[in-house]
Subunit: 191 residues, 2 copies
């Protein structure tokens, strides 16, 4: 499939690899054919963006819907985000200000709600704010891990094994945030 080849080019060569000539050559077809299908070079990129985002959501969904223990789930989640295709996608979106639709509409919207429900159930009796904060922390950390995990690891002088264990460590830590958590209101008046 054409978009798969384009996705590989994004992962391997960055944005500059996303031109119709090179992609067509990799696919062994004429570049005019690409234009005929997608209408324009920009249209091809938009299609790729949508496609890759859907793939990311699907992968996340598969992980988060499994009934594995928390640390395993987080390990998988972080591993997922470190895949070149996925972190390059997020970087690309960030650069192009593509904060619109795909991440907040359609299947992903349902997925997020699902996660939210699951976490809220676990922290029964507490504020939904807490669930949101915890999820936000986990996901943002996973994204940051994908974007500059290797560089950070090097800066901090972390060993290979330690970096590998970090995702599971996060999975173990998050439950601590649930225990002894003040309500959002107390929280606000604390300092």
């Amino acid at each position: 499939m054409i978009l798969a080849i384009a996705g590989k080019r994004l992962a391997d060569h960055g944005i500059r690899g996303l031109n119709i000539k090179d992609i067509a050559q990799d696919a062994g077809i004429n570049h005019g054919t690409l234009l005929h299908h997608f209408g324009s070079a920009e249209g091809m990129r938009t299609a790729l963006l949508t496609n890759l985002t859907a793939a990311l959501i699907a992968d996340m969904s598969a992980i988060l819907n499994s009934d594995a223990p928390a640390d395993t789930i987080f390990m998988e989640l972080f591993r997922l985000m470190s895949q070149s295709g996925h972190n390059k996608l997020l970087a690309w979106r960030a650069l192009e200000d593509a904060e619109y639709s795909p991440l907040t509409e359609g299947p992903s919207e349902k997925l997020i709600q699902q996660i939210l429900d699951g976490v809220t159930r676990r922290i029964q009796g507490r504020d939904i704010t807490l669930a949101q904060n915890i999820i936000f922390l986990a996901l943002s950390s996973a994204v940051g891990w994908g974007i500059c995990g290797p560089a950070l690891k090097q800066s901090l002088g972390m060993s290979r094994t330690q970096q590998d264990q970090f995702p599971a460590w996060v999975g173990e830590q998050l439950p601590k945030l649930i225990q002894d958590q003040p309500t959002a209101h107390e929280n606000r008046n604390k300092s």
Copy 2:
């Protein structure tokens, strides 16, 4: 300054905004002058990358060296990463696989060591592994926040105020990870 204009173009128009013609026009000079200074278009981008990275490190350094309370520091750290210039820089680096030098050499190396020392001091008697994990969590989360914070916030249905309070919340949570923390060894044998 030329690089300041180039940086603004990166923040406003993404990577495609980083071409000598547009930058020269924004700066009101001939594009040949730009080439004369930086040698090539690629040289200009390299200079910009180095320059922006140094600026990011400097900003982070200023925050982390202040003697403000933890939650304030985290608030500032997250706010910093959400600035368009800084998160676009990281996205750019991620896309171009620019994981080399600047983040791990020179002033930033000293900065990281400084942070590591500070955290290690606070968790005296414990493994340095813990300090590294905590810093890794905070920084990766801050990066993820900068890259796709707004999109995540929207997906999770977080209110404006809650999103604003998230950085401070993180600052409050991290100390909990220090309490009752098993050593790295126990940790490894746990599951």
